[in-house]
């Protein structure tokens, strides 16, 4: 039997007893691009952080290829939200990408030539090779996002978790990210992406996880991304325009 890259069972996360995620259970198939979609405060980022053990969970378990996450760290790559770090930090793009190698290098040792080569290759893949030596505060928002992506590539993982990689980037970067995601998929890697632009879900993702504190639905996008499911996920906040032919959705505040 082939093992699932991501297996989440009964995951509950609560801050101060108010549940943020409630008994979420799902299995992800291998080699798919999976979009995690849901309204603000639905626990999308929390789900990723809980899977990666960045925040304490109230209950439940997470397995990566059949084993506890702790023992499988090297198989996992992570792209945090761009706004989560201080971009005025004194370092350059290459250095940030090299951080993706730290998990492989181990304690005390410094990154070697091989690591630098891998990091440069990752920068090249996101079209940022020329910017390797540039101070990160001098990069545009889209370029910073690409550096984060390159760092995840340098982790050389098989399962990737990306937290809102499309937020605040230019159109060119969005295009670059999507082609990169498809490349990862072609290599048989599994990518889970927190996303909140409903317009592009059908275009970008094979599978969709609809989430609002609980799992609403999970499956191939064309089966799951339906008006019925979206209404369950977004409740009254979603207005449907032109539901027949090509639905476009408007989320109301």
């Amino acid at each position: 039997m082939k093992m699932n890259p991501i297996q989440v069972s009964n995951l509950t996360v609560a801050y101060d007893r108010k549940p943020v995620l409630q008994e979420v259970t799902f299995q992800m198939p291998e080699g798919k691009l999976i979009g995690v979609v849901g309204p603000n405060g639905a626990g999308k980022s929390t789900l990723i952080k809980a899977i990666l053990g960045l925040i304490p969970t109230a209950s439940g378990s997470v397995e990566i290829y059949g084993k506890a996450y702790r023992t499988q760290r090297k198989l996992v790559g992570y792209v945090p939200q761009r706004g989560s770090v201080d971009w005025d930090f004194p370092t350059n793009a290459l250095d940030v990408v090299l951080m993706g190698r730290y998990g492989h290098i181990g304690w005390f040792r410094r990154p070697g030539k091989k690591d630098t080569a891998i990091a440069m290759q990752a920068l090249d893949k996101v079209g940022m090779k020329e910017y390797a030596g540039r101070q990160i505060s001098q990069l545009s928002g889209g370029q910073q996002q690409r550096v984060f992506l390159a760092r995840a590539l340098a982790q050389d993982a098989t399962v990737y978790f990306m937290d809102e990689p499309f937020v605040g980037v230019d159109a060119a970067t969005e295009k670059a990210i999507i082609s990169l995601l498809n490349e990862l998929k072609a290599q048989g890697k599994t990518v889970l992406v927190v996303h909140h632009d409903l317009q592009t879900v059908k275009e970008y993702f094979d599978w969709t996880l609809l989430l609002n504190k609980r799992k609403i639905a999970l499956g191939p996008t064309e089966e799951v991304f339906t008006v019925d499911h979206l209404q369950k996920t977004y409740g009254g906040r979603l207005a449907f325009l032109d539901t027949q032919v090509s639905p476009s959705y408007v989320v109301q505040p």
Binding site: V96, A171, A172
Partner: protein, 454 residues
Amino acid sequence: MFYELLSTLQDANTQWVLLGTILLGIASGVLGSFALLRKQSLIGDAMAHAALPGICLAFLLYGTKSIGWFLVGAALSGLLATYFIQVIINHSRIKEDTAIGLVLSVFFGFGIVLLTKIAQTENGNQSGLDDFIFGQAASLVGNDVRVISAIAIVLLLVTWLLFKELKLFTFDRQFAKGIGLPTGLLNGLLMTLIVSAVVIGLQAVGVILMAAMLITPAISARYWTDRLDRMVIVAGTIGALSGMLGTILSSMANRLPTGPVIVLAATVIFLISLIFAPHRGLVSKGLKLYRIRKIVARETVLQTLYDLSEEVSITNKKIRFSKEALLSRRKMTVRKLDSNLKRLQKEGYVHHIKDMWSLTESGGSKAYEIVFNNRLFEIYTMYEMKFASLQFAANDVWDYRNIDSSTLKELEQLMAIHERTPKLAPKYFGKGETFRKENSSQSAKKRKKEVKSL
């Protein structure tokens, strides 16, 4: 003065003390860099102030001056203060700055009360505890220096060994945790390192000013470099220099407290960095702004002349323009316009008959280039998605000469579609009126329409 300096330096005790203050300057510069980047500079201040009651209690309990117990007392009450700050932040609506202010003053106040109490006891006068307020490097004895140096070296060694981990932890804590670094442990370790750096400096620099030793070298170093490894080295060097200068100056003057002198020395270095550092310094920034303004003003004048010429070329009017016409197209001060016209005339780009200005042939080709470049950029911004392969960092210069030929061709085609191609070739300005007559057959009507659409 010089002999005084020489004799000060020859004194064995001073040399010993110097070694101590230099090492502690390095340690506080290095760890201050991390504190600064973690935005914990003020925590250092709180810890230093809060150390005073710890030192006093250590003296009261142990009964005599002992560097070891002082350090333990200082570290414990410093950590207790940070713990209180955390508790206040976590369990009330009070924000960090307020919490720090509260805890810092309470601990310091308590320390002063204890200090006064000790001064009134029999052996209080010899306690030397007063030195801890403003710092007195000269009061360091051999044993003190040995302990301080040993701790400073350990701190530097740990930082060097764990540099990679501490860097990642400071930059991106979540990612660090994601790849399995024990972030809780690292946080505790870094906190301990910073507390230790503060504590070993207390006797030489004093509780009031110790935070400056943490902050000032680090922030000065930040001006000189954009890499953490270099920043740490520069900060350590600045810390060492300040420590050295402070110690020498204060031992030359009778009983001048060391702390203020060290801090003043560090501040002078900071001011130099603030003003003269390349890229980030005020002078460098000012020069850059001045240069940009100069280029923009010059390009504006040339571009305005070109635009006006382009419009007039379809009529029978002369392609000469008054200053008023230039000013009404693009506003700038009359003085700026005058000085730019004068400079451009000297360079042979413009000439004037009476008060009417026009471009020369070389000026025409210069202006053509500028206009071409700017309009190409307009087109690029319209089709940014299409030209995704062209990347420009936030502050890169747009120059069509850096674009590869096939992309350039595409952009030029688009420019033609949008009728933004500059229509006056440079040679036009050389030939002037005659050129226009030769080309009058050119569908003037179409040109008129195009120009109107501009």
